[in-house]
């Protein structure tokens, strides 16, 4: 099963509270790719299309 790079079950116990799911370590970008994409985590490399 593909590794999902963030927490999926969130136990929300407060209404109207923002919650950022915890990141989970799955794969890392190729070292040479990190400088160009600005991060080593593929899930955080967000290129504006």
């Amino acid at each position: 099963m593909a590794c999902r790079p963030f927490e999926e079950t969130i136990h929300v116990n407060r209404l109207a509270r923002a919650y950022v799911p915890m990141q989970k370590l799955c794969t890392l970008l190729e070292p040479t790719q990190t400088l160009l994409s600005g991060t080593v985590f593929p899930e955080l490399a967000d290129f504006y299309k």
């Binding site: 915890m22 990190t34 080593v40």
Partner: protein
Amino acid sequence: MNRDCMLKRLTILDFLAVDLQLYLDSHPDDENAITKYNSVVDEADGLRAQYEDLYGPLFSFRSYSKRDEFNWTDCPWPWENGFNFEIGGDE
């Protein structure tokens, strides 16, 4: 590996170390991240020592390889063209 490749590799490794350290700030007991972080730091320091043996010190205040003379002043200064390398160019 020539000087530019070493400098670029060192820049990448230091960038990896910083990014993994930021992840470890919020996930201090993530074993995989710790092993990856340690391997990156070890590789970077090994490469720094190798670089310094070939091309001289990277820092004026710290040396990764045993030096018996202070040759910080012999190397190209950061503002000189010969100091820097090209990051772009191979997107």
